[in-house]
């Protein structure tokens, strides 16, 4: 992967976050949460700087980032789509819904579409099991989704439903 150069903003953000936790290595997970929240994702270059700031090996940071599914090393799409694959959703047909997203977007789980508009993820139970199968687009929850709804959801995103919601 080509190296990316961190922007001024990214560098100061990381330094500030680490400082707010007193550069304490025990706070690594909290640091990563905040950095990801502010920068969107945690590429290798970000991890390197976090390691320097907390004075720990990069391998430790990398080990933690890759261990927890909440952390991502890839940028997410404008419309991050998460299909719930918790058991309640699975038994009500979440897999077919996920397959349909794969097919329509031509990307696999964990990938972002070439135009950067969509990324696709599977997650485990968002706690709206009564509405299963559940799909989240950003913070918006779609309930009782069937494969034939997928097209509509994608079209809504393209119309920018996210902006007025």
């Amino acid at each position: 992967m080509p190296k990316i150069k961190l922007s001024e903003y990214a560098t100061t953000t990381i330094k500030e976050v680490c400082a707010s936790f007193n550069h304490n290595e025990g706070e690594l997970i909290n640091v990563l949460h905040q950095v990801q929240h502010k920068l969107g994702y945690l590429p290798a270059e970000v991890q390197e700087l976090v390691a320097i700031e907390l004075n720990i090996p990069v391998a430790k940071v990398y080990g933690v980032v890759t261990f927890y599914s909440f952390f991502t090393m890839l940028p997410q799409g404008e419309n991050p789509i998460s299909v719930c694959m918790g058991t309640a959703c699975y038994v009500r047909g979440a897999e077919q819904v996920l397959d349909e997203f794969r097919r329509q977007l031509k990307i696999d789980v964990g990938e972002t579409s070439a135009d950067g508009k969509f990324s696709l993820n599977a997650l485990r139970c968002v706690g709206a099991c009564g509405l299963a199968p559940v799909v989240m687009v950003g913070d918006r929850v779609h309930g009782r989704v069937s494969p034939s709804d997928v097209k509509k959801i994608l079209a809504e995103c393209k119309d920018g439903c996210l902006t007025h919601n």
Binding site: E25, G26, E27, L28, I29, N30, L32, H33, K60, G63, V64, F67, Y68, S69, F70, F71, M85, G86, T87, A88, C89, Y90, V91, R92, G93, Q96, D99, E100, R103, L123, R124, C125, V126, G127, A128, C129, G130, L131, A132, V134, V141, G143, S146, P147, S148, V150, K151
Partner: protein, 597 residues
């Protein structure tokens, strides 16, 4: 809640919020203000009512009227009918599916009749963001009593007498755990609340934190007093933003009221609570992994002993309890061990909260006395199977549990019975399956989860589960042999016996229990290359039965890939080379004209 004549309770749990509950609250406030009723009627956002299936739910007290599936547009009508004309709005009442009568009062709804709410006592009754409402319902009285009237030993004895066992899965006696942690000498100890709730399809702990966060704070403080700790930590999933938000509010309020911090209630007892975030790893629910995660490392379990009670967070004695376990504590202090003892069974006292989901009519959060049978839960409370299908299995214990069948329906639910039946209590996920669910696929689904979540530290779990998964995949693709079935069983037993932590030790349970209870289904996949439930794609084909087809075009309109052709009122046809076997046509057809062959 004294100043207002009436209250409108609107469920603000995650499920109902997803269906615009917030807008409903806004509309109520606006409507009441317009009609100048806002001095008499108060709108309260509460935690989960449990009846998620029919959400968003609105309840009016004191008359207990229960409105289901409310939309923001319904608000004007409710205010007009209920508050101005003084009669319930029929259209939104719950309809008893058995006799089509509408039910006005929440108390008369089958879903609630058999429930006993201890851990969920405040969920759906109080505004979780207001400490006063918690206090009005005996909140913090238990802490006051423990601090001022009891020694730590007496308080521990009370918990022991109650017979409360851990609700996080293992069922370890809570009082005993507290006693062990108390006896370890150390000036620094920790109380940890395990709110990781990794079981997919389970949302008990989250609902408690969203609906009644103060009960957890109060219980943790009592625990701190008992074991001699002045620091508490809540380890919560970052995927639970609403629970985190409400917990933070509750912590701040408790500090403001002097119920956390230094010299609580002037007794000289200090206790404070911090939040630690998980980051999406199921294994972090295991207590040693959880502790490593709180220390900022990868959440890999370590060998026990030493137990956390002896050496936990930062190497200090640490008492780890589950959210629901804690939620029981204040009530036990307020009502006494004897009262608690009367509920439940001999070896499992009290109640258990379950997240009932899957193919039942009433998906939701329920709490029943231990000893209630699966049949009562699924058919009385859950309202039976959706769409008139046949019950096939119920899965308890999440990825560590097993599938129980018809013959287990009358088993009283408690820790020991579920283990005897080949499953386990787990944290409380309960997934109901019907005749359309392929048990081999279900086993594969759980294994896929385990594979994702195995921390990789030990070989049997990391590699063994992968091989199990591959065998199951082979079988669902119709390439399995009878030998593979023996291999599945043998490998499962090896993994169980040799894995380091609870995750690996229980991960083959879904495989073993389906092999035990649904062996014929495995055999069908292997020998006749068919999937009896019609779920395994590689083994099935959708076809239109020309005689049954009325040409209604519903399938044609719904097929996502345009594989269906046909004229109106003429039999349709499925082009097999285009069909992606999604099953939409099968689900949509009203004339049973689509068959799986």
């Amino acid at each position: 809640m004294a100043d207002y004549k009436m209250h409108i309770l609107v469920c603000g749990g995650t499920g109902c919020r997803a269906s615009q509950a917030e807008q409903i609250v806004k509309n109520f406030k606006q409507e009441l203000a317009q009609k100048s009723l806002d001095k008499e009627i108060k709108v309260v956002t509460t935690g989960c009512f449990g009846f998620c299936e029919k959400g968003p739910v609105v309840k009016i007290i004191p008359d207990n009227t229960f409105y289901t599936q409310v939309t923001p547009q319904d608000v004007t009508d409710i205010v007009e009918e209920h508050f101005i004309k003084g009669r319930p709005l029929k259209r939104l009442l719950y309809h008893n599916p058995k006799n089509e009568f509408s039910v006005t009062s929440a108390k008369n709804i089958d879903f609630y009749k058999k429930q006993v709410r201890i851990a969920l006592r405040n969920c759906g009754f109080i505004n979780p963001e207001n400490i006063e409402e918690y206090i009005a319902r005996d909140g913090y009285a238990a802490l006051g009593m423990a601090l001022t009237e009891m020694t730590p030993e007496q308080a521990i004895q009370l918990v022991k007498d109650s017979g409360l066992r851990g609700r996080g899965g293992g069922g370890f006696p809570t009082g005993l755990k507290w006693e062990i942690t108390r006896k370890v000498q150390n000036s620094q100890k920790y109380v940890v609340c395990n709110a990781d709730e990794g079981d997919p399809g389970a949302f008990m702990d989250r609902s408690i934190l969203e609906g009644d966060p103060h009960s957890i704070i109060e219980a943790m403080a009592i625990c701190g007093y008992c074991i001699g700790a002045s620091n508490g930590l809540v380890y919560i999933r970052a995927e639970y933003p609403l629970a985190i938000h409400r917990l933070k509010i509750a912590l701040n309020q408790a500090k403001e009221y002097g119920l956390l911090g230094k010299d609580i209630m002037g007794t000289g007892f200090n206790f404070d609570i911090e939040i630690r975030y998980g980051a999406g790893a199921f294994v972090c629910g295991e207590e040693t992994a959880l502790i490593h995660s709180m220390e900022g490392s990868r959440g890999e379990p370590t060998f026990k002993p030493p137990f956390p009670s002896v050496s936990g967070y930062q190497g200090k004695p640490t008492n780890v309890n589950n959210v629901e376990t804690f939620a029981n504590i204040p009530v036990i202090f307020n009502k006494g061990a004897e009262w608690f003892n009367k509920i439940g069974t001999e070896k499992s006292r009290g109640t258990k909260v379950f997240a009932l989901a899957g193919k039942v009519n009433n998906v939701g959060l329920i709490e029943v006395p231990m000893g209630t049978t699966l049949r009562e839960v699924i058919f009385d409370i859950g309202g039976g199977i959706r769409g008139g299908k046949r019950f096939k299995a119920v899965q308890t214990g999440g990825p560590s549990g097993g599938c129980l069948t018809e013959k287990h329906l009358d088993t009283p639910i408690d820790y020991d019975n579920l283990i005897l039946a080949g499953s386990m209590m787990g944290s409380g996920g309960m997934i109901v399956m019907d005749e359309d669910d392929c048990m081999v696929s279900i086993a594969k689904f759980y294994l896929e989860f385990t594979l994702d979540e195995s921390c990789g530290k030990c070989t049997p779990c990391r590699i063994g589960n992968k091989r199990l998964f591959e065998l199951l995949e082979k079988i669902t693709q119709g390439k399995g042999t009878m030998q593979d079935l023996d291999r599945l069983r043998m490998l499962s037993n090896v993994i169980k016996d040799t894995s380091l932590c609870g995750l690996g030790q229980t991960s083959p349970n879904p495989v073993l229990s389906t092999l035990d209870n649904f062996y014929h289904e495995y055999v069908a996949h292997v020998n006749s290359k068919t999937c009896p439930a019609g779920q395994c794609k590689a083994l099935l084909k959708y076809e239109v039965d020309a005689e049954m087809c009325t040409g209604c075009t519903l399938c044609f309109r719904n097929c996502p890939v345009g594989a269906i052709t046909g004229e109106k009122k003429m039999p349709h046809y499925i082009n097999q080379s285009l069909c992606i076997k999604c099953g939409v046509c099968y689900d949509k057809c009203k004339f049973k004209a689509i068959s799986i062959v």
